[in-house]
Subunit: 394 residues, 2 copies
């Protein structure tokens, strides 16, 4: 039980390093911060009575997101899961297809695939980015997939492998060039799950804009929040139109008639939530700067803690540092739960990474690669308090 | 084109009867009304920073809804479509099943069935309630369905007919006793789509609480709104727990671990929207009273317009009068579009009923009964301005 007898006792060192940065008190993992026009815009929205799926804040939020990310078309929706489900459908994912997703991700990535009637096929991660290992994936696909009349088929399951969904873990951009190459060579639609990476860039270009489509989340624990919310990004005008149509019940425009031309979804972001989002987006540059500052403070503080590495943005990328991440060395990984208990006990909220999705009961029947790196990361990751307000002042 | 040559010209009479009640100005079909604590609660929610899926307003909204409707268990979700989809899944609807729904309904009812991977099977309406004709349905099922190892199967399609979804059209309760009898005799789960009927009662009991599960909507056009929102109602404790679990990503409670035990949904209503809902629910009795008053004013005004009937609450029921409804006689049904044009042209928003769902492209392959009454109603219904604020003062 007690690893302290033969290993350096890590928990007190980590508590001390955290306290040196955040000071005394209780700290959540990530809390919203409303210091701009949040209250004013939400009041304006209520006064207009346009609180639902039509209103100027939804349009403005989409324009602001397009301007910020560089995506040509943005459709705001109720949350990131809904965004990813619709993006996958628009990318051609159909019942019985397989979709390549990292085993190391929040369950929503895999759920969105299941909501399309498709099967997640779990792939390996790399330690440098915490994202999908493009090289290992290429090698794997060369072995297990074969080409049949223009599509690639899983030789074992006979299902079409339709799409590839990188997820930019904790805001760190994955190996996008490598993954674009794999997608091209194996005929896969690339759909980026950028739920965690608003404000993260790969070679100067915003994450979520490299694939056919990309998706964002504005859940309460994200860098900015709309309460619940998400968005679909695309540079393809037709896909943008289709995304808007599908997420607004597929109703055809008419002065009074209610005619819908396909099975649609009630997924449009309410104007009330968009009002909050407009104000939050105005604050985003300040929040990103603070989160970066927090990274450097933690880096300085953890520099003296051996056996622990603070995750830095990958070379060539700029991360939003959504969740600050400690990577324990394998030699001390068995102390992870002691670290989690000690930090949470003293009011410093920390958490491990998600249970690898191939081990969730819903996905036990899903195919997966060998996942030694993902399994190692699962044992070693600890997220620490990451709110922007921990470092708002220089 | 012009029916006026051989029929009484209806449009000017209807415009006059509407103006006599609402006065001069532009009037939408249904607008939200925020006169209580809406602004205060939403501000309180923002100040707490708990705007997302956890917070006191979500819990309070659910308790208030339970108290108002009498449902033992209430789970607040992002909208009525999501509520119905999850309710159907909890009622046992699976891919390839058939679900009996009225052809005369908003597309969301049928979409929710499709989102479960099931097939809507469209059934006939009755003119007295605008809901499903229980007698015609019983006769139809006796002909087309047969019992196989405990379930009823559509003899033509060989699919299991799993559930029956009455929808309380424009807030008028359907023939619940008749439908409960059909559900019992044909082994169907009854799931009420009460999206339009918050505040409507059948024999003194709130709609949405008779079936295994029921669902509500708080979209911007409903009697009360949360921006976007809905709820699942049930008197079954286990179904209530399952509804909460499925709509919150099926995460198992744990101090820090992220383990999900089935494919879940991110459907929980954000606390921000629930804050609005708590204030709106406080206003609900006043709004219902005003909507009833508006009915009586319209009834007096339209009493002198021949060939038109204002829809009254069915015997034994109390309606919320969500949308006031004119029923044109068949003899003047061909003037419907003239009426729609004339009223909308003068700033009085009106609309016809939804296109019958069996004629929507997505559902052309779905089975349906003969639908003479639904088809007649489709030609003859005109909804007129129905906001509570049209009759707030006695």
């Amino acid at each position: 039980m007690n690893a302290a007898l033969h290993q350096p006792e890590l928990a007190p060192q980590i508590v001390a390093a955290l306290r040196a940065v955040v000071g005394e008190g209780q700290f959540a993992l990530h809390e919203p911060y409303f210091a701009g026009s949040e209250a004013a815009y939400v009041q304006e929205c209520l006064q207009s009575t346009f609180v639902s799926s039509v209103g100027k804040f939804v349009d403005r939020f989409e324009s602001q997101l397009a301007a910020f990310t560089g995506a040509k078309h943005v459709v705001a929706v109720v949350n990131g899961t809904a965004a990813l489900q619709v993006a996958l459908q628009l990318a051609g994912v159909r019942t019985g297809d397989e979709v390549l997703v990292p085993a190391l991700t929040f369950a929503a990535t895999s759920n969105a695939v299941a909501h399309c009637g498709a099967v997640p096929h779990f792939v390996e991660s790399e330690e440098q980015t915490l994202g999908i290992d493009a090289r290992a994936l290429r090698e794997y696909l060369s072995t297990i997939a074969e080409r049949h009349s223009g599509v690639w088929v899983n030789r074992a399951t006979r299902r079409v492998i339709r799409a590839l969904v990188p997820m930019h873990t904790f805001g760190h951009p994955g190996d996008i060039d490598g993954l674009l190459g794999v997608a091209r060579d194996f005929g896969l639609a690339l759909v980026e799950d950028a739920a965690e990476s608003l404000g993260s860039y790969y070679h100067g270009v915003h994450t979520g804009t490299f694939g056919l489509l990309g998706t964002l989340s504005f859940n309460g624990n994200k860098t900015i929040t709309t309460g619940g919310g998400g968005a679909i990004l695309t540079n393809d005008a037709q896909l943008g139109r289709r995304a808007r149509h599908l997420t607004t019940t597929a109703k055809l425009p008419h002065r009074w008639e209610f005619r819908h031309d396909e099975v649609g979804y009630n997924y449009r972001l309410p104007n009330l939530n968009a009002a909050l989002g407009c104000a939050q987006l105005e604050q985003l540059p300040v929040l990103l700067e603070a989160k970066r500052r927090l990274y450097f403070r933690y880096a300085a503080s953890f520099g003296t803690v051996s056996s622990v590495r603070l995750m830095a943005e990958p070379a060539g990328s700029r991360s939003n540092y959504w969740l600050q991440t400690l990577l324990l060395d394998e030699s001390v990984a068995e102390q992870r739960d002691d670290v989690l208990a000690a930090t949470n006990d003293t009011g410093l909220m920390t958490r491990p990474v998600w249970v690898l999705n191939h081990r969730l009961p819903a996905f036990l029947g899903s195919p997966h690669m060998l996942l030694p790196v993902a399994e190692s990361l699962e044992r070693r990751i600890v997220n620490i308090p990451s709110s922007a307000q921990l470092a708002l002042t220089p």
